[in-house]
Symmetry: C2
Subunit: 200 residues, 2 copies
């Protein structure tokens, strides 16, 4: 590969490197001590980057955590968009829907998954601003359409996703002691009922 030359290209490369370093430092600190205990000062320190640069690039702590979520989600996005079936393309739409919910439920149950761990830190902003929330919704909407469901796909997707929402599932797991297998069975049942894939 040829690198672009000149001062401007150098500055751009520096900026990209700083961004990657800051996100890596933040991810490490979050995994190490939990998102709620990570400060901007520490992130800058661990990354070896000035605190001014950190704030300039991410706005504030929430901005940094959301960028980190987006980074973590990119990999999951790849898996459900281009990966192997039944999560990725190649399986019937209702099977893909079921696999998608299973994957979400497994992620929520996994304490080392940074996506949910960080989502818990920004509960309101998460719904409002996160790109991945929008991506989940687009994905479910298009699978409902592909499954031949006759109805308001946009809204049915919201209804399905409300059940596997981080806060709903945390509540059911922590306060009602519902195990992951039962959550998955409910999701599959729900998808079959909504897509008409159930016997009827």
């Amino acid at each position: 590969m040829t690198e672009p030359s000149g001062d401007l290209a150098g500055e751009r490369a520096d900026a990209a490197r700083n961004r990657a370093r800051l996100l890596e430092a933040a991810a490490w600190l979050v995994a190490e001590r939990g998102a709620e205990h990570v400060t901007m000062r520490e992130v800058a320190q661990v990354a070896g980057v000035g605190k001014g640069t950190l704030f300039r690039r991410f706005g504030d702590r929430n901005g940094l955590l959301l960028a980190l979520v987006d980074d973590v989600e990119a990999e999951f996005y790849q898996a459900y968009t281009f990966g192997l079936p039944p999560l990725g393309p190649g399986a019937p739409a209702s099977d893909r829907l079921i696999a998608f919910g299973y994957a979400l439920l497994e992620r929520v149950s996994d304490p080392t998954d940074l996506g949910p761990a960080l989502g818990r830190q920004v509960p309101t902003d998460r719904r409002r601003t996160s790109n991945y929330g929008r991506a989940f919704h687009l994905h479910v909407t298009s699978l409902l359409r592909e499954a031949g469901v006759v109805g308001d796909h946009t809204m049915l997707a919201h209804a399905l996703l409300a059940f596997v929402d981080l806060e709903t599932i945390d509540h059911l797991r922590n306060d009602d002691q519902v195990i992951t297998e039962r959550l998955k069975a409910t999701w599959a049942d729900l998808v079959r009922r909504v897509t008409g894939a159930a016997d009827c």
Copy 2:
């Protein structure tokens, strides 16, 4: 009616009167200026009751707000348990489920309804501790059973209620500008799919 006599009865009557006064004062203040601006000091002042009594009775501000929610919810509970059909008994279970969701959605859309207004103030505690959340869930669970749904009624009730949850609906109304009529149509569609009342 005969009143119980003696000092103890008098004390009990005082306590009940104080409780009613404090809740009335709190309801008035919440309606007047929004739950987030109501302080314990003001509630005691408006009720003409000592601040010590207020704290002894309700624990803290959250405790007071939750008691107020329960008070407000008692009326709604009467309506869906003993009131007129289709919300109350007498209509087919799937119609009652639809009417129940409609009522919840109308309440969330009504800024003067104290239930949702107060629920917004205690988002996490609301799920964990509120009696009315449990009552909603019991109601939906028993209607699913009555509708002859074959499946995990407890979990399907959670899945349905996740869609009409205060935070989900606030998000859809405020951030996605979804109107109440569309939310109601989605609820009815969802109930029909889950209960098998849809044509299939």
